[in-house]
């Protein structure tokens, strides 16, 4: 089978377009998330969002919508709880992470047929992406690009140093919540392509790979999108030919790419 034949199948067309959109979305946001050392946050949202997937499967509505709703609630809830309580950031996230997963397991357990569908949200399954989800991803990407363009400098400054941002009169809580909400949206929408257990890697690894070569934050952002694009597309092709879950092939290729970047950089020194 040649490469061109892959694209004859409509489900592959959908997968590649969705992959393209995700590969721009995740590193674009990931640059700010990594800069703020909030990488764990994406994993927290992904696990929490699974409760929404479970609810969708049980009550027979689109699980991605369930994931989106639960992830959004979690993104706002975590910020509030950290603000109001004296609990540390990672402790609150750990509670949401395991709580979400536990709830998801319980909800899918209530209906036998749901268990099979549930697995594809854990590891990603390109076969199941629909055109309406592709459209939703496209709208999200356009919205996200507008938000990032508008908020680029405040987001960068709160990532570099929060007091510096506050002293400039920047509403740091607003931008922190904004970043958190954007992360929740992207994570929920990525569940079908890479899966809940692996989406964190797609947010972080392209950024780390890019940072090996980039000389500025702007370059990191651009290069991370390029590397994300390569990892996702190559991962999808590999997934098709080897018949392995797309999330697994994308993430393993990303790690391979990152290791190669590290080796090249160490030779350059």
């Amino acid at each position: 089978m040649t490469m061109l034949e892959i694209f004859q199948y409509e489900f592959m067309q959908r997968a590649f377009i969705a992959g393209l959109l995700i590969s721009i979305l995740t590193p674009m946001l990931g640059s700010f998330i990594v800069a703020r050392k909030a990488s764990l946050l994406s994993d927290t949202f992904a696990h929490t969002a699974l409760a929404g997937v479970g609810l969708g499967l049980l009550l027979d509505f689109n699980p991605i919508l369930g994931a989106l709703a639960v992830a959004l609630v979690a993104s706002l809830g975590i910020e509030r709880i950290i603000e109001k309580s004296r609990l540390s950031n990672d402790a609150v996230q750990a509670i949401f992470l395991s709580g979400g997963l536990a709830l998801a397991v319980l909800l899918t357990h209530l209906q036998d047929s749901a268990t099979i569908g549930f697995k594809s949200y854990l590891f990603g399954s390109l076969l199941t992406v629909t055109w309406s989800e592709v459209l939703f991803l496209l709208i999200t990407l356009l919205g996200m690009m507008a938000v990032i363009y508008k908020s680029y400098w405040p987001l960068l400054l709160i990532s570099v140093n929060e007091p510096l941002a506050k002293s400039k009169g920047i509403k740091t809580n607003f931008y922190k919540t904004l970043l958190s909400v954007l992360t929740a949206v992207v994570v929920a929408l990525s569940l079908k392509i890479v899966g809940a257990l692996l989406v964190g890697a797609l947010i972080v690894i392209p950024v780390l790979t890019a940072s090996q070569f980039a000389k500025s934050f702007k370059q990191t952002l651009i290069l991370s999108i390029v590397s994300g694009f390569i990892f996702v597309q190559a991962g999808l092709i590999l997934s098709y030919f080897l018949d392995v879950p797309s999330g697994s092939s994308i993430v393993l290729l990303s790690i391979l790419g990152f290791v190669i970047a590290l080796v090249i950089k160490s030779f350059k020194r």
Binding site: V160, P163, A214, F217, K218
Partner: protein, 231 residues
């Protein structure tokens, strides 16, 4: 004319009163050293002045004075992604996308002698160079008052002296400066006024009038300083 007036300022943290009844003014041309023992509330006071603390009581009034802030040296060290000098300096502008941004950044970097470092990665700079970039960042929007929080604590002696020279030059060009430092001897040697803080404002006097009696009251132990001629 007062650039900034602090009136009966109280700040409480987790129920404990950290600052009590602080009042003073910053005037154009002032060069103020804020000194006091550890835990005296120096950084808290500075943060209260630039809007980083919620006030329990009292007011901080500014007559449209633009404020510039230079944080402690480790402020940007924990940022692990590539970041150029110009990217950091640009964040000091009210509108980083303004047309004059590039020109303003060049001017600010020239003021601190770092104009050749514009495209350098911050991670590859020394502590002293990084501190100068933070100073340029604070200067880029042409502030009336500069607030500096222990800016020289990580610098070696030669860089420290150069930094003091830099501040003196800025002050002579009309920028008021409030400098927080634990380095009593150096501060008193360079500034014109001293605020001695230990939760309350124990003394606010000209640097030359500071004596060991006043210092003992603030630091609660014997501290001596040698006055140098302010030529």
């Amino acid at each position: 004319m007062n650039l900034l007036s602090v009136k009966n300022l109280h700040v409480r943290k987790a129920g404990t009163l950290i600052l009590e009844g602080i009042s003073f003014d910053i005037e154009r041309g002032d060069y103020i050293g804020l000194v006091g023992p550890n835990g005296a509330g120096k950084t808290t006071l500075l943060h209260a002045l630039i809007g980083l603390e919620t006030l329990d009581k009292g007011r901080v009034e500014t007559e449209k004075a633009k404020l510039g802030y230079v944080p402690q040296h480790f402020a940007v060290e924990s940022f692990h992604l590539p970041l150029t000098v110009s990217e950091l300096v640009r964040t000091g502008l009210e509108n980083p996308r303004e047309k004059q941004a590039q020109k303003k950044m060049k001017v600010a970097l020239k003021k601190v002698g770092m104009q050749k470092f514009m495209d350098r990665n911050l991670q590859n700079l020394s502590g002293g160079e990084r501190q100068k970039v933070l100073l340029a960042r604070a200067l880029v929007d042409e502030p009336d008052i500069l607030f500096l929080d222990e800016p020289m604590s990580a610098l070696d002696d030669p860089s420290r002296l150069k930094f003091y020279d830099l501040l003196k030059g800025l002050n002579e060009k009309g920028i008021a400066i409030l400098l927080v430092s634990h380095d009593l001897e150096m501060v008193v040697k360079h500034v014109t006024r001293v605020l001695c803080l230990n939760r309350k404002l124990n003394h606010a006097c000209h640097a030359v009038d500071l004596n060991s009696e006043k210092l003992k009251e603030v630091f609660e132990c014997d501290r001596f300083i040698h006055h140098h001629d302010h030529a």
